[in-house]
Symmetry: C5
Subunit: 158 residues, 5 copies
């Protein structure tokens, strides 16, 4: 197995999350290659992920971002998310968005934990999407979460 994973991230983010993603993926795939592409902010991510796929030969991309708490930051994240969906539709490749919003946590320690957990779990999802899709199907409807403990499934009759 020999393919390249793209990691797109930002200088706006307050945590350098790419090393966690690469660590997780390296544990799961031997001989994986990475292309890392850092941009200023989340709105620069869509084209970066498209270039990672179309010009740098990546089969799948993880897009890391940490939008701020203000309404304008939320709008930027919305625009970026739409752009990441367009990238995927234009390339037929997955771009997994792993954004952590600064206002998701009550303090920096919790924010750090959420961001790292989400990054690691989405790195696992990335590997499954490429190499082990049956593991995702086994978890369909299981209330999986990234950044937080799993919500778990609802069972009939509860």
């Amino acid at each position: 197995m020999n393919f390249k994973v793209g990691i797109a991230d930002t200088t706006f983010s307050k945590i350098d999350l790419a090393p966690f993603a690469m660590d997780e993926i390296t544990q799961l795939i031997s001989n994986v290659k990475f292309s890392r592409y850092t941009v200023p902010g989340v709105k620069d991510l869509p084209v970066a992920t498209k270039v990672l796929i179309e010009k740098m030969g990546c089969s799948i991309v993880l897009a890391l971002g940490m939008p701020g708490p203000a309404p304008i930051d939320k709008q930027c994240a919305h625009e970026a998310s739409l752009g990441l969906i367009w990238t995927q539709l234009l390339t037929n490749k997955h771009v997994i968005e792993a954004f952590t919003h600064e206002d998701e946590a009550s303090d920096e320690k919790e924010l750090y934990e959420i961001a790292v957990d989400r990054t690691r779990k989405h790195a696992q999802n990335l590997v499954k999407l490429i190499l082990k899709p049956e593991e995702l199907t086994k978890d369909a409807g299981m209330g999986k979460r990234q950044g937080h403990p799993d919500a778990g499934p609802i069972r009939q009759g509860r």
Copy 2:
């Protein structure tokens, strides 16, 4: 009649709805083939449905998702819905969105019932779109609902 139906679903969802959809469709079409594609969350569905159509030979796709109750979840669902519309416009194939929002019900039992009912009825719609479009036209303007009882039509003079 020999065609393939795509089922795209998520690990985020709290209910494994694909079996209900496949059960319903199997009752209505003999020899139907399925391709199932599970992704982490609803924003990963647009590219999954496009790949089901363009790479896996599906004629139509059912997209199952269960967005959470927070504003960010609503925004994700909105972005996913736009992506599903783009998939359809880029492929000229139907992707039926069957999303159940976690806050549609007052408890888990009701949520389960809504989700299963919506999934089964949209599975029926999927079959009609492909094989029996005249049955949909017969029901045009009839106030059909999925997940809830039909609203029914308004008649002149009421």
Copy 3:
């Protein structure tokens, strides 16, 4: 003159409006042909209208829908409207959106009247767009409304 008009509508709608549209158009154009395409809800309309144009040979399409009153219904209508605009840009053909929102009226009788009036007037607009564009230009800036009485123009110095 020999062309085909597409009518796209939904089973979600509470009023079967297509007959009013076809009646109006038939009165205005002799020998017109129709293709009718019924889908479950408004978000299924964009691809239906694209297929009507690209696969079924329609020169223009009327898209009939009746979005519900809840916020999620409004969001669905917004997504559908964007999809209808994309269909038009991808085909260079008009798709006239004639949506009536369930909460536009205070009772079912008024809703029925609004929906039928809007459908008939937009059917007239459809004919003008194809056959008599100069009649639309004559009415430019005249405050025309569909579903309600015309607002009328503002004149200088009023």
Copy 4:
């Protein structure tokens, strides 16, 4: 110099603004040709402007609209604006949006003045974009407004 300007407008608008635009442009360019395309409402403008460019040979288009004051009208204007941006990206031609919102003014007289001023100034902008781009660059950052007096520039140290 011999080129064609497209004017797209609506019957929904309460003021017939195209004559003001054409008057302004005619004063600035001799021998200019116009194609006028009137549609029912602002959501019909995107495809009209695309057809003006791609089928009717226009080098640039002015899109005139007057959205109503209700939330649904605002949403329609938003959808139309996005469509006008897509038209431009798909054609690499400018479509200048000159929309006047009905609730921008406190009475009809003021609304009329705003709409006419905005139309005339955007007609001037249209001419500059095609023939005198250096005049726009001279005004970069000058706080120019259409429909209202110019805001003017902020100067360092103020």
Copy 5:
């Protein structure tokens, strides 16, 4: 090294920011060429940036804008931002958005300082994206800001 940088800006903006961008870039790259393209408002920027890339040979573009404080201005900025993302996806080139919102500051002096700082820092980002991508990666997750002091990184255990 010989390439062209596009600068797109508006007459709506209250500050002429392009000279600051060009000054910054000139300090960092010798022999750089610029194409400047001024449009009326931010919604005209997407096509301008696409033309700068596709017709004028620019490798990267800086889009300068200063949206007003009203809700309609915010909506225009949102539409423009989406358009700038589409330009990038359609060209596989970066368009760095450097918008300063009029209501970001409490007075004109502060607004001026924010706008100039953001413009200069995004001009630096532009140079790094083209010539020194490794400098951006070095700053990944460092909480970089434009228009304001850097937020700085969150470190584990804080």
